[in-house]
């Protein structure tokens, strides 16, 4: 049983400022010593519709949101209509007193808290939108959360706008707390701050990956905005220059990846952030990076497709696409971090792998990982572990000492050729998109083709040793092993905990972060399992298929989700296949 496990859901129309309010409150709770898991659920529109932000808080680390809602903050009646049923018995609904609560939405087991949000916001703050701040005061008041942490966020967020703005917001919070006062005795849930907690971090997957990339020496980012991949481009545009990194928003995705390749040939560690549809435009250039053996990191924050699909929602359906993108065959890495910690780690390691093997490295994130906020320990982003390894890059001194003509695509045992950056008088060479010989000149002879093709493919021998192995969570020898990749790790981990809480030794999970090249230790790990169930955010079971192709292992069951919503532990438990649940299909 997780202590102080409370879920707050804030709902309203797009444009009501839900995301910034949610993120602000997430920070306040973290400062108050609690762990949060915050998930935005937004439609692809700027105004109107129905958006909500779910914030789960507890006194231990969280990996998912769960179904029960303890406190619903309804900035409009649509929120009560859609989420009223999700509130647990004893829970509460905060709504604007200017609205009339229709009889059919009333529940006798839920506390309704009408607060004149708009009226007070106008009276105290002068603007409607400030009712969010007021509502957060009510939330803090009802949950008896130490309001000073909320106030500290207000000071930080609004400090730049001047004391008057800060004071206005502080008065709104005080008014909110006061409005909650008469209801507190009738509301059983509490989120008391934990004293003496270390100063933990709260961030999302976009930030974790971007910081990892920066730490790993990424100095060139070019791309075109596409939700949910834009976050990384925006992050670098806002922070990069301070650290000497160029970030360019260019005319389209094709320009984005080609610019990055141009920069990478010259020697910059280059990154292209996008989402699946944007990556579709980058496919040809991926082949150019591969043929020219240019190190490049491609980040795809997946969303449901095809085409425009569900722009602001999540999916894990681009795995096979990335694995096979571009014509013919060439080695590549496909990595799929599951947590913020892994996203940070992959962020820097991707650049080492790209340069060590002079190949494209593809990082698969998704909207769920990219946009979800989570509290982690102060040292969870392991900056000390970061190394910058440029592989077979020739130094200026090494080039000065060259006695033979430089050969960019020299055939070597490892398949990796020593790389010179353009600009040295002893290493004058052409990056080639045509098949080429070692020099390189364009060369179409069969013998040469085989030599170069085999050289490129030989890199896999080294790559396969470096791909991250799958990781276990849960008790050894469990009755069922769930298999997942990427962001499904978190919700699945909580589902595994639930199953083991019912009956110990029931379940464990095997999480794939490295998928291509297929990690050689994976087969032995999979063969340890008594029963295997794949859990993936796609229709056909893409990792499942890869495992079958690579190992011949067939899953005993699978759980798929493709409605654009992230997995939750309850969804997994409700969809257990017959092989696990023992129930008839």
């Amino acid at each position: 049983m997780i202590e102080r496990d409370v879920t707050i859901r804030i709902g309203g129309e797009a444009g009501m400022g839900l995301e910034s309010s949610g993120a602000g409150f997430a920070k306040a709770l973290t400062r108050g010593g609690l762990y949060i898991f915050g998930v935005p659920d937004f439609y692809s529109r700027i105004r109107g519709g129905h958006n909500f932000f779910t914030l789960r808080a507890a006194s231990q680390p969280l990996y998912s949101i769960t179904d029960p809602v303890h406190l619903l903050v309804a900035l409009d009646m649509e929120t009560v209509r859609r989420h009223g049923d999700e509130v647990v018995a004893g829970g509460a609904v905060i709504y604007d007193a200017k609205e009339t609560l229709p009889d059919e939405l009333k529940r006798s087991d839920v506390l309704f808290v009408p607060v004149p949000l708009t009226e007070l916001a106008k009276e105290i703050g002068g603007r409607d939108i400030m009712r969010n701040t007021l509502a957060l005061g009510v939330v803090a008041g009802l949950l008896d959360f130490d309001v000073s942490y909320v106030e500290s966020i207000v000071r930080d967020n609004f400090g730049k706008k001047g004391q008057a703005v800060v004071d206005g917001n502080l008065r709104l919070i005080a008014a909110g707390v006061e409005a909650a006062q008469p209801y507190r005795a009738d509301y059983p849930f509490r989120l008391h701050a934990v004293a003496g907690a270390p100063q933990r971090l709260v961030l999302n997957g976009t930030q974790a990956f971007a910081m990892g990339a920066l730490a790993g020496g990424c100095r060139f980012v070019s791309g075109y905005p596409m939700t949910p991949g834009s976050g990384v481009l925006v992050w670098f545009a806002q922070h990069g220059a301070k650290y000497g990194a160029v970030a360019k928003h260019v005319e389209d995705e094709i320009a984005g990846i080609n610019m990055a390749i141009g920069a990478a040939v010259m020697g910059a560690r280059a990154l292209v952030p996008t989402s699946g549809g944007g990556y579709a435009l980058m496919v040809e250039a991926t082949g150019f990076a591969a043929m020219s053996e240019t190190p490049l990191v491609i980040y795809n924050a997946q969303r449901p497709g095809p085409a425009t699909g569900l722009p602001t929602r999540t999916a894990q359906a681009d795995l096979l696409f990335m694995l096979h993108a571009a014509q013919d065959e060439f080695p590549r890495f496909v990595l799929a971090p599951g947590t913020l910690e892994e996203a940070f780690h992959v962020g820097w390691e991707a650049f080492n792998l790209a340069e060590r093997y002079q190949v494209p490295v593809m990082v698969l994130s998704d909207q769920f990982l990219a946009d979800t906020f989570r509290t982690i320990e102060p040292d969870a982003l392991d900056f000390d572990a970061v190394t910058i390894d440029r592989g077979a890059l020739l130094s200026r001194e090494a080039l000065d000492a060259l006695t033979e003509p430089y050969q960019r695509y020299k055939v070597t045992e490892s398949g990796v050729s020593p790389r010179a950056l353009p600009g040295h008088p002893k290493a004058i060479w052409v990056t080639e998109s045509n098949e080429h010989d070692e020099a390189p000149r364009i060369n179409e002879e069969a013998e040469n083709r085989n030599a170069q093709m085999e050289k490129r493919m030989r890199k896999r021998d080294g790559m396969v040793q470096e791909v991250p192995p799958p990781t276990w969570y849960g008790p050894e020898g469990a009755e069922v092993t769930f298999v997942c990749w990427g962001s499904t790790y978190g919700p699945l981990r909580e589902a595994v905990d639930c199953l083991n809480a019912e009956q110990s030794g029931r379940a464990n999970l095997l999480h794939f972060n490295g998928i291509e090249p297929f990690p050689p230790v994976a087969e032995a790990a999979l063969r340890k399992a008594k029963k295997l169930v794949a859990v993936e955010g796609n229709f056909t079971g893409q990792l499942e298929r890869i495992i079958r192709v690579e190992t011949g292992i067939v899953m005993d069951g699978a759980i798929h989700r493709y409605d654009g919503r992230p997995f939750r532990p309850e969804y997994i438990l409700a969809n257990l296949p017959p092989a696990v649940s023992g129930k008839e299909a």
Binding site: F220, M259, I261, M266, P422, P425, A427, S433
Partner: protein, 290 residues
């Protein structure tokens, strides 16, 4: 001192005898030599097509890339190492067809790139289909009843988009072409030299016979002022009995794409040391997350 020998290579071009690309290759080499540019100080970025094989036929750094994409690749190269000269060379199908979008954006961006277009108004390497600069009505294998489109107007488009050095050359006037390329190389911003490249095999109607006697030099034209943008835009569309070559438009370039980039104030990107972040930098990053 830089000499022509520095650019010499044993590789023989795969171009047809009489191809305009020989003149362009020769003019580019001569311009490099005349302006004291050594092969390691420059990178020649090309697309895909007959002419784009050019960096294979001289001893120079090159990037032989993808059809339609050399422009963004060249801009990325320049951003990564702005001390290096970046010369972008490609054909009309490449830059005005597949890559027209990139061209339209590049010309409003002022990257420090010198762009030379081998404009033969035909697809050569795929054996003679009409190109974006073919004149309307051109009959080819893919336009048996005549092409339906107006020709792209690259010079007028570049001027419209804000390019500040816009020129046209002709290998039949080789010394003039050498001079033009030199002026473009010395220009401190984006410079376009569109080159009328005779294709003697697949576009015989637009070979030397057509251009000789039609081309005239703007520099010899009394009263022509290349600083006059409106006049340049009008002249850029002159085609027929008289075909202008020379510098159509030349103005103050303003800051380049690279010079406007804050991260490059300390020098070229690739010259900056690449080391793990310092403790205070990490502290700054983490401060945003607490």
């Amino acid at each position: 001192m830089v000499t022509r020998d520095d650019y010499k290579i044993s590789e023989k071009p795969t171009w047809c005898p009489g191809c305009g690309n020989y003149g362009i290759l020769s003019a580019l080499t001569r311009a490099f030599v005349e302006h004291g540019i050594a092969p390691h100080e420059v990178i020649v970025v090309t697309g895909i097509g007959c002419g784009s094989k050019l960096p294979q036929y001289m001893r120079v750094n090159g990037m032989h890339t993808l059809h339609g994409r050399p422009a963004p690749i060249a801009q990325g190269a320049k951003l990564a190492n702005h001390q290096m000269r970046v010369v972008l060379v490609h054909g009309d199908g490449d830059g005005y067809g597949e890559g027209l979008g990139h061209f339209a954006h590049e010309t409003r961006r002022n990257p420090g790139v010198t762009e030379l277009v081998q404009n033969n108004k035909i697809y050569g390497l795929t054996k003679g289909q009409f190109s974006p600069t073919s004149e309307k009505g051109k009959r080819t294998s893919t336009s048996p009843s005549g092409s339906a489109e107006n020709a792209v107007q690259p010079l007028a488009l570049a001027i419209t988009q804000g390019a500040t050095f816009v020129a046209r050359g002709y290998p039949g006037e080789l010394n003039h072409l050498v001079w033009l390329i030199g002026e473009a190389l010395e220009y401190p911003g984006y410079a376009l030299v569109d080159i009328l490249q005779p294709c003697v095999t697949f576009n015989k109607e637009r070979a030397y016979d057509y251009y000789n006697g039609r081309v005239y030099k703007l520099e010899d034209e009394a009263g022509y002022d290349p600083a006059n943008r409106t006049a340049a835009w009008e002249r850029a569309q002159e085609w027929g009995d008289r075909i202008p070559i020379g510098i159509f438009y030349r103005a103050e370039p303003g800051l380049t794409y690279e010079a406007q980039e804050p991260a490059l104030k300390a020098g070229p990107l690739v010259a900056q040391p690449l080391a793990p972040l310092a403790q205070e930098q990490i502290a700054t990053l983490l401060a945003d997350l607490t």
